[in-house]
Structure formats: C-alpha cells, structure tokens
C-alpha cells in the first residue's frame, strides 16, 4: 500500500493501491526538455531506443517527452516487464495516449519514462507502472473525452475481470444515477450500464464491474421440442457451413434462444434443425444454413425481439469485419442519437483504441443499411489505427467502402446515392495531399457511381442526376502522391 507523493489524491483509505509497485524513486524536478534537446540528450546518452522514440514524436499537440532519468534503467525495465504481463495491446495503446506518446502499442522503456512523467505531474508514486492510482489520475480527462469504453477495457484488463463471456455490453449510461445497473438481453447475456459515479476512480469502476457480474441472468425459457426437418447428411453439411458462418459464442447464443432452443454457445445438430424450422416459418428454404438471406431474417427477428446486441454481433460475426485489433467494444446504445458513432477522438493523433455504438436509428434502417453502417464504423476504427487524422478523409474512405463492398449486400439505389452524396461532399473537404493520395480510390468509386446510375430506372436516373454530375465534375489534383 502506498500513498501519493503530494496532495493530489482523491482516494479514500479503502481505495488505496493494491497493485504492487516499485520502490519510490527520487522524483526529478527538472522541467520537460524541448524535443530537440531530448533527441540530443538521447543520442548523446547512446540510447538508441530513446532516440528513436524522441525522433518519432509528433511535434504537436503532445508535450515534450520526459527527460531520461525519471526512472533508472532497472525501474524502467521492471515497468516494461510488469506492464507487458498485465496489459494487452489495446490497453497499452490507451496508456500511451494517457502518457501522450505515439500509440504504437509497444510498451518500451521510453513509454515507462513517459508514464513516469505523467505520474510526476500528478504527484503520484513514480514507477512507470500504470496501476489504479495512475489510472485514476487519468480518469477525468478520459471521461471528458467520451473515453468511458477505454476505461472499462483497461480496468477490466488490469484486474482480469471477464466482461465478455457472459456479457454482451458494458456501456456508460448518463441516465443511470447510481454506479451500475444490469439488465439482460433476451439471449440471457448481461448488459452492464454504468452511471457517472462509476467513473470516480479506477477502483470504484473495478468494484462496480465485479458487483454487476454477480447479478444472475433470468432463467432461460424451457426449450421446445427439436424439430426434424433435415436428414442426417443435410444436417452434417449445414453444421460445417454454419460453424464458419457464425462462430462467436454470443451469435450462437442469440440464435439458439431466438429459435426456441436452450442457451448454448456452440453449434450442434439440434440448433441446425431449429434453424431450419425457423427458416421454413419465415418463408425460406429450410436448409439449416446461415447465408445472407437467412442472416437478414434472423437480424430482423432479433431486432423485433429487442436483442439489438445479438443482431449487431451476428452481423459482425458473419461478415468478419476487420478492426485491425483496434476495437475495444461494439454495442447497442439506446441513448445514441445518431445511426452510429466511433469514439473517442483526440487531437492530432487518432491512433487510439476505439469503440462503436449503434443507436436506435441505425437499427431501424433496412438490413443492408444497418450492415453498411456497421461496416462504415469499422472503417473508422481501422483508419484511426492507421492514424488518419483528417476526418473528411476518413468519411470519404468509409463511404467508399460502403459503395464498393463486395462482401456485404448492396443498398438500394436511394441508399447508394445517399452514400455517393456524402462521399463527394467529403471529398471536396479533403486536403489536397489526401486527395492526391486517394485519387485512384476516387476514380474507382466514381466508376461505381456511374455504373449504378446507368443501371437504375429512368426516374431514378433523373432523381440522382445532380449527384452523378457532381462526381463527374470533380477535377482531380495533379502531383505525386505524398508519403
């Protein structure tokens, strides 16, 4: 148990540090050096790692990195080993944002020194390790940047709290006045709603999560009799296909309850038979195979059954959207006023772990529109990982994915032209260097706009002519692509 080094603490005695941290070193009182001095210092000191770190720093808006020496070599090495044992790459990315260093997801001695500087600034024990006290010092800024999902992830990671196996969503809910509440999806998966008081400190968030995980799901409804639609061979084939189509335990649990079976998290022959019966009841061929058409029927049923998280999970699972290991969580948020959003943003460097929230308006779209909305948000998550800091560029590229996707169902011409309208508007707002970099992509998308327009009815062509004209009238910038 340790105490903060200055009067900055807001902890109660009961909240004191439980995570063992290194002995308290002498805190450096030297002010942060300007970047060139840090580089010179690092190079002069023969620290290649520190030099690389210093050279890789973006000049703004982050403050200068810490002077070498806040931690000695042994402390820095210890902090690296401790952090890499404790935290996954997403958490390390969050830590790097807290410490205002490039978020490459690799915790090095230089990162430990940056954490030490953060600790010094906040009057904490200086050891380069992000335990509860250090996290708590970062809470206000993260909360103020809508970074609740990041805090949930890192605290659960620090404490090895399982918030995924039996839980479909952990989300901040400003309408919740207490620390936490739980409710359950129709599938029996838990949704933890966290009120603002849960974010007072890292330990309070930890305790709130643990307390909510103790709530028990309501008993499952009794499973109905297993239908016998398919013969053994057809069932075996469907089982193989379905295990590839939907593999996430939450998808399977949502499906199993939807089709009147017991809560299970892995495919079996009974589930295939129940799916086949559900297909037949909904006017489809009862083959027990989850294809796109069946997925649409299932998603509609899940939404009608108020299992929005199950619907989202099933779409993400089926289409296997790539998040470049940058997604902390995705869930339905009934308080969301947009179709969906990706957050949080920071200033100047977007390369931080992100989450996706889908709102009621997003869920109310036609199936293809919902799929495209989720696909669009995953594009943002990837672009944030790639540190694309220009939002119009992110939006153009994400609309482009919707318009040219070969893995997701096409939207109708109205939905497509809505994307085209937005995509062209975002293109016009992009900086010239981004337009040059993405010229080929623009041309590819423009061809698709022309193709879809030409393939539509005369009335639709007339309706959308102005949008196509804008695409045709774009004059592309010349010049070599930038880096």
């Amino acid at each position: 148990m340790v105490e903060p080094r200055s009067g900055m603490s807001t902890h109660t005695h009961a909240e004191q540090e439980q995570v063992a941290e290194a002995p308290v070193p002498e805190a450096s009182s030297a002010p942060a050096m300007p970047l060139p001095l840090v580089q010179a210092h690092a190079i002069a000191a023969g620290s290649a790692q520190m030099a690389r770190y210093a050279l890789s720093r973006q000049p703004a808006p982050a403050p200068a990195p810490p002077a070498a020496g806040a931690l000695n070599d042994a402390q820095a090495t210890d902090a690296v080993a401790w952090t890499n044992r404790k935290y996954d790459e997403l958490s390390i990315g969050i830590i790097q944002h807290i410490a205002a260093v490039p978020a490459d997801r690799v915790f090095t001695e230089a990162t430990a020194q940056a954490v030490a500087t953060f600790q010094q600034t906040n009057g904490l024990l200086v050891d380069g390790k992000v335990g509860h006290q250090t996290l708590t010092a970062a809470f206000p800024e993260r909360v103020g940047q809508s970074g609740h999902d990041q805090l949930v992830h890192i605290v659960a990671d620090l404490e090895d709290i399982d918030i995924t196996t039996t839980t479909s969503a952990v989300r901040f809910d400003p309408t919740v006045a207490v620390r936490g509440q739980s409710e359950f999806d129709p599938s029996g998966l838990r949704v933890i709603k966290l009120g603002a008081p849960a974010f007072q400190s890292s330990r309070i968030l930890r305790d709130t999560l643990k307390a909510q995980l103790l709530t028990r799901a309501p008993a499952a409804a009794a499973a109905g009799p297993v239908p016998s639609i398919l013969d053994d061979t057809s069932t075996a084939i469907a089982l193989i296909v379905d295990q590839v189509a939907l593999s996430h335990p939450h998808s399977i649990q949502a499906l199993s309850v939807l089709v009147g079976g017991p809560r299970i998290t892995a495919w079996n022959e009974d589930l295939v038979q129940r799916l086949a019966a559900n297909q037949q009841a909904n006017g489809r061929t009862g083959d027990g195979i989850v294809d796109v058409g069946t997925l649409e029927v299932l998603v509609r049923q899940l939404i009608a059954n108020n299992d929005n998280n199950g619907a989202i999970r099933m779409i993400v699972d089926f289409f296997a959207f790539d998040d470049m290991d940058n997604l902390t969580t995705i869930y339905f948020d009934p308080t969301e006023t947009a179709n969906a959003e990706t957050l949080p943003l920071s200033s100047g460097e977007e390369n931080q772990p992100a989450s996706i929230q889908v709102g009621p308006a997003g869920m109310a779209q036609p199936f293809a529109g919902l799929v495209h909305t989720i696909e669009h948000e995953f594009s943002h998550v990837r672009l944030m990982r790639q540190n694309e800091t220009d939002i119009p560029t992110q939006e153009f590229l994400s609309e482009a994915i919707e318009m040219t996707s070969t893995i997701t169902p096409q939207e109708d011409i109205a939905g497509f032209m809505n994307d085209a309208d937005r995509g062209e508007a975002q293109w016009q707002r992009m900086p010239v260097d981004r337009q040059i970099r993405h010229r080929d992509r623009f041309l590819e998308v423009r061809e698709e706009v022309r193709r879809r327009h030409a393939a539509s009815t005369a009335a639709e062509q007339a309706t959308n002519q102005a949008i196509v004209d804008r695409w045709n009238n774009v004059v592309l910038p010349a010049g070599p692509p930038g880096p």
């Binding site: 800024e141 103020g144 809508s146 400003p174 006023t337 947009a338 969906a340 957050l343 909305t373 508007a425």
Partner: protein, 148 residues
C-alpha cells in the same frame, strides 16, 4: 426571416461528468419560417446536424472545445422541417460534454449555433438559411465532487 438562438447552461454542470445545455430557437421575424424540429447536435464541419457549439475562455476568441467522436447521422428529412410562427419557439436539451471535450474545470463562454441548411441538408421552401448564433453565455464548470 430571423431566428433568435438562446442557450443556457444548467447549474449542475460539473467537469467531467455533465454540462447540461438548454437551447431555444425562436422566430423573431414577421413571417413563418421552417426549422428542423429534431435540433440534432453535431459539429460545425460535419453533416447530419442542426446545432453545434463552441466554447471559449472568457473574453477570448480561442476555441477550446474539441469534438470527441465521429458520428454517422442522416440529414433531417424535408418533412422534419416544421413551420415556426412569429414568436413561436422550439427547444431542446443536450449534454455538451457528450459531444465536446473541454480542457478542464474553469470559467468559459458557450455559443450555440443553428444551421438548418448545412452540408447535405435538404432544400426546403421557407426554411431558415444560414447560421444563427446565440450570444456568448458565460458559465462556470466546477470539478465534480462526488458528494464529498
């Protein structure tokens, strides 16, 4: 055609938990004008919104409010633009801190803007054109004390 935008910050504003903002849009002209009823909040340089906000230090033009999310919202539909008779008003509430990050507790000035014909918004006959701004509203943002 003239709209008045009035904004106020609730007394329970606390950093970093909540900054409740109340907005009223009033037709100050002598003829009816159409306004997007939903009054959705977003960012100045984004589509799918009618309201956006800016926060400054007192007496300064420095912009200290920063967007915190990338949102995907459809533009308001033409039928969502409702006529406001002279003297009539629409009102809405939103939590500023769910949309904008501020540097920390302190004293600030808030300005809220209405723009019903921004990027990708439908062209609606009789709709208000351009951006209408509230006055600068000073507010204090004390740190959340959690009942201490």
């Amino acid at each position: 055609m003239s709209l008045a935008v009035e904004a106020s910050v609730g007394p329970d504003a606390r950093w970093p938990t909540t900054i409740p903002v109340h907005v009223r849009i009033r037709n100050d002209g002598e003829a009816p004008v159409r306004v997007a009823r939903r009054l959705a909040v977003g960012y100045r340089d984004a589509d799918g919104r009618e309201l956006f906000a800016e926060v400054h230090p007192p007496g300064s033009d420095e912009l200290v409010s920063r967007p915190t999310k990338i949102y995907d919202r459809d533009p308001a539909k033409p039928e969502e633009y409702v006529p406001l008779a002279p003297g009539e008003e629409l009102a809405t509430d939103f939590d500023l801190i769910r949309w904008y990050a501020l540097p920390g507790p302190g004293s600030y000035e808030l300005q809220v803007f209405y723009e019903g014909d921004g990027m990708l918004a439908p062209q609606v006959d009789g709709a208000a054109r351009g951006i209408y701004a509230s006055g600068r509203v000073p507010f204090d943002l004390p740190e959340e004390t959690w009942g201490a």
